[in-house]
Assembly symmetry: D2
Homo-oligomer: 383 residues x 4
């Protein structure tokens, strides 16, 4: 199988998530980094590219040069896709330019700052036919795919309730005033967008429950708070949700839960059973039901669905984690890219990745959550 | 130490919770059942009393006879208190009559149907001086007392967020139509009151967070649902909470979480740390903090506070559970009763039990939650 | 049902386990303490009896007086049984005297110091017909009874391997030199017997696996150690086991596992599946099998066997613990005592308690373990 | 940093562990596969090499051709090391030839079949100066490195007891007769060596405790069993251990624990505290101590030692697993190889990997275990 060539925008020295993307792409040997504009600071961009062994000709100081250069190259040398891992505010111009140029895009989340921007991207993608993936990485966990399968195939009956919480503690203090690069941009409306914790991790929670259940939110009732003095964006938020099928939900996301690490939990309740998954213990899924004793479903075990087993690299009992989940998102996008380049349709379970539609819905979710938080009325309808 | 004599109202054959109260009172050998009116059905009441070895003269067919008889007896033979374990609608008349007569009362929760009734009880208690306890039994767990101590002594800093969930699955189907006595009255507005799950278990959740934190709710935003067709009361509810100190909260309670047993969890987040407790694993309390590695505090271990150790009977590692927690509520009330009868004030940590004020606040909580659930406005203020 | 009357020998002020026995007996209201010789120190014995409300006439300074007095009383006033909760060395004379007198005995473990003593007891019991129970309390846990049922009914197939470990940390330092009464006698060969940790907790481990599996040990290979300087008995030991059916086993028991509480774990491996139980999380039993996903069996849930449900007082999700397990042992013995007094045979599942045979086998286990520990040969055969 | 070039011997189509090695090496982008002899079947070897994108000139049908070819290439093109992932019986000839040729070797475990073979390798390595690593991959887990640090730095005091168990269930049935390639060679003495489960996973257990504690085994007492009818090697074994410092140990390893996945657990007990680690929950290490409440040490958290943090790629709460641990072993070996090629000494914490000495000790452990299993004497001394 030919390796896919990719360029990275962002992710240079001192960045947090870029290297995670690169490791995820490296894991299976299906993708290779061939070009980049790894920082918005041209010198740092080129230094970072040298660190990673980029050829000088493809090691750019800014993303526009990268794009120009790629478009001049012959197809069999050109990148197959760009991976965008910048702070949020740069997603829009970069993704739009590459998508308009017909180059496949993998972009970090949340997708963009506004639904209008998301619409622009949708139009560009529709026109150019580019594959567009959004790295809601938690959907790549095999047990999340098992959860999706169980809900979608009716094993839980009709869904009645959805509980999702995402607790972190790293912003319990005013970290942004102590030269922490991650805290700095994520608490800055100009770069992060209109939401803080709700954009950074609440959007993961929204995507997780949408991915697993396929339910549509009908109305949102939100309470957003900035606890840390001086902070300009929410660092905590809780939502009541109503879904169009009548299900109810609670979503809470917070970055001030002191001492807690990356505590993302989801519970889906149906008429016949309940499943519970915890990101910090990702190889297990607990299934309780009306009839049987609770079962511990484990990654890689034979009773799992094909989509979960396809996302599994190691036998049961050999823990996989965050990198592999991330890699699965990339593998799904890669399958879609290969299909595009070969002019064929995707078979079932191929191309399993969060799409532009997921990203756009996530942006709308943030907008409506912020709108609801400002409203005195209980319910803000999805529109 | 003299054993306290008690009568029980309710709790006869086929009742669920009466026997739990009796076991809890028996555990430490400080109380003895001497009289009763164990059912609203006179024959069943007397049969039940005989099962328990009650003397015929004190084995009554109705609670009014019980009360009349007790008042005729000399003080050194009369009951020290009555334990009321009937369905909810009977709490008010029974408790009021005994309290007015000056007899100490231990009453199950939720206390009564309306705040007006709670006010009546308060006046009666004020006048007669009776000790009045409400069996919010989860407050009796040693690790809940440790949690209370840690919050109240400032070990978590200022409280910012409170998460409490109480999930059960036993009402996921229409159990009330299949001759299940518990389901029958708990889903009947006439006996259960204006709320279903929110009254039955949401009230425990409210009491638990109030007991641990001492925070006051400022506003409630509620969504209550009846999922099971034909059910007349809520079987699921979720609330956003704002506290007067600025803290935020989420409370969710549900009896339709299929396959889940008695999954009560609480997490308290402060500026300095976070504690997490789970009722199904009650001997442990997880404490995370800004500075140290997470700690597992275990019941009975030497680093715990005096109130927690006082509520402990066995060495660490020898599991205690629901019965002991229940017994601790009774022991606290018993200490208050002894103090009353001896005309002395309670020393610190004596008389550690949920009071009439807790019960009354719980009733108000249910009223405001139901009011909020009907409102189109987001926030219903505590008043 | 008539309450059974009992006397207690040992268990006075400052004792650890006596009060646990009393609470266990009190829990269900089926037994009442009417007499005692609560300490080997006559004054302390009587003070302790007064604390517990014993009538002066039945509050004795020594166990011989207790026995004499009881034998003089009419049957309908006499104790139904004696509960012996002294240090080990007193089990033999007390139990023998009461058993010879035809009084039912409940005796703490390990039963006695030597197999010769156990034989004496067996003869006495055979002659007098007394019911004799040994409080291997861990067998009273509902999930242990479920484990026994699963093994005995063949759900695991043929048993191949048995792993049991019992780790405590309370004797990691030389606690016996600091006026700790428990440490003092348990590390003293004169009172504890020929084994330390192996007698105190290793014997529980032996009993647990025998109770669950019914397998017979064929050979023992033991290594016993005294880690704490100056200690006269083992505080740590590990054994390889061979069973007569060809199964293999590992048993390790230690009281020097610093910081660990009461960590008793057992795993039973059969050709078809494996079960795992942990005493510090006693309401769950994990069942893995060749065919299905692992299952979490929970106390009180509907799929459990009758013997487990019979040993259950509370609905699933309402934790039970050590007291209830202890109480179950007493309830089983009580059923046997009632059957004896009524001259009837025990129905199935009645009289579910560790018998004198269990106690005698436990003594032999200790003897052979100590013998093996001294041997240079690998295997010491059970004989 | 220049990527290290490697060749792989074994690990072709249908192999289990080869792809895990390749993913581990790919993860950090520091190594690239440039040559191979991926199967002992020449056609399959070449097909497998083509799958992986090997150039025809470096895609060999047997390992001798690979070695010949490499030695003819200029240094700046030649492989930096060979990764040997064949069944056990091929480790010796391949490793010896490459080591004699001065090429660095990474070899799977158990190293070879006999101590004589291990001695040959040691001589070859001594002579040629080649770096030689053995992929005892569990030592690469960050929390194992933390455990090692805690023991070695005295945080647990003097070590008294070591408990290690490694349970798997995949060989609970006669899988070797059903065309399972892994089961086939691992149960064949000719390819697996003199031990089955004890060689395959018992050797991991031995290495894990040696790595963490640095203790030396003084004597072994072993019981090995083949439970599955017709199986020629042990599928279950348990050992009592004595260490030269006086510590005691229990090691049990089994592949017939039906339904269990990859359940490797280790507990190290010192005079001051105890640590417990479980491979299926690898991001946590539980630390109990005489003084404090139990602590949950989590991978990536700030209180960990430098060696643990160095082995960490993701922030706390973002699970890492088996691949990353494996990768850490390779990174350690790579640092040693870079040092060798640059003619410099390794700095502290560089070159953190299991060495040939670890591999040789593991072989001796297997030999003595098998010897002990055949002996009627309790103890077989390490020699």
């Amino acid at each position: 199988m030919r390796k896919l060539r990719y360029a990275m925008v962002g992710g240079g020295r001192d960045a947090f998530i870029g290297v995670v993307h690169r490791r995820a792409m490296a894991l299976d040997g299906q993708m290779e980094l061939v070009a980049g504009a790894l920082s918005s600071n041209p010198d740092k961009a080129r230094d970072s590219g040298r660190d990673l062994g980029l050829a000088d000709a493809r090691n750019h100081g800014d993303w526009q040069s990268l794009l120009d250069d790629e478009l001049k190259r012959p197809i069999d040398e050109r990148i197959d896709f760009v991976s965008i891992v910048t702070p949020n505010h740069l997603h829009y111009p970069v993704a739009l330019a590459f998508a308009q140029a017909g180059i496949n895009v993998v972009c970090d989340k949340p997708l963009v700052h506004t639904s209008a921007q998301a619409d622009d991207l949708s139009r560009a993608v529709k026109q150019s036919g580019a594959v567009f993936a959004v790295t809601y990485n938690y959907t790549g966990y095999p047990m999340v795919r098992q959860a999706r399968h169980m809900v979608r195939s009716g094993q839980l009956g009709e869904i009645r309730k959805v509980l999702v919480e995402y607790n972190q503690g790293w912003l319990a203090t005013q970290l942004e005033s102590s030269a922490n690069k991650q805290a700095d941009w994520r608490t800055d409306p100009g770069r992060s967008g209109i939401a803080g914790a709700m954009g950074d991790i609440g959007s993961h929670a929204e995507n997780l429950i949408a991915t697993i259940t396929g339910l549509h939110i009908e109305s949102i009732c939100a309470d957003l708070t900035s606890f840390v003095p001086g902070r300009r964006l929410d660092d905590d938020g809780s939502l009541l949700l109503r879904f169009t099928n009548g299900a109810r939900g609670v979503l809470t996301a917070s970055q001030i839960v002191a001492g807690v690490e990356n505590d993302l939990r989801v519970r889906i309740v149906g008429t016949q059973g309940t499943i519970t998954w915890h990101q910090e213990d990702p190889n297990r899924l607990i299934h309780t039901s009306l009839e049987d004793a609770p079962r511990i479903l484990t990654r890689g075990s034979t009773s799992l669905c094909p989509a979960s087993l396809k996302a599994t690299r190691l036998p049961a009992g050999h823990p996989e984690g965050f990198h592999e989940a991330f890699a699965n998102v990339y593998l799904g996008a890669a399958e879609a890219m290969r299909a595009r380049s070969e002019g064929r349709a995707l078979a079932e379970l191929e191309g399993d990745y969060p799409t532009l539609a997921d990203g756009a819905r996530g942006v709308r979710f943030i907008e409506l959550t912020v709108e609801s938080a400002k409203s005195e009325m209980k319910w803000t309808r999805w529109s």
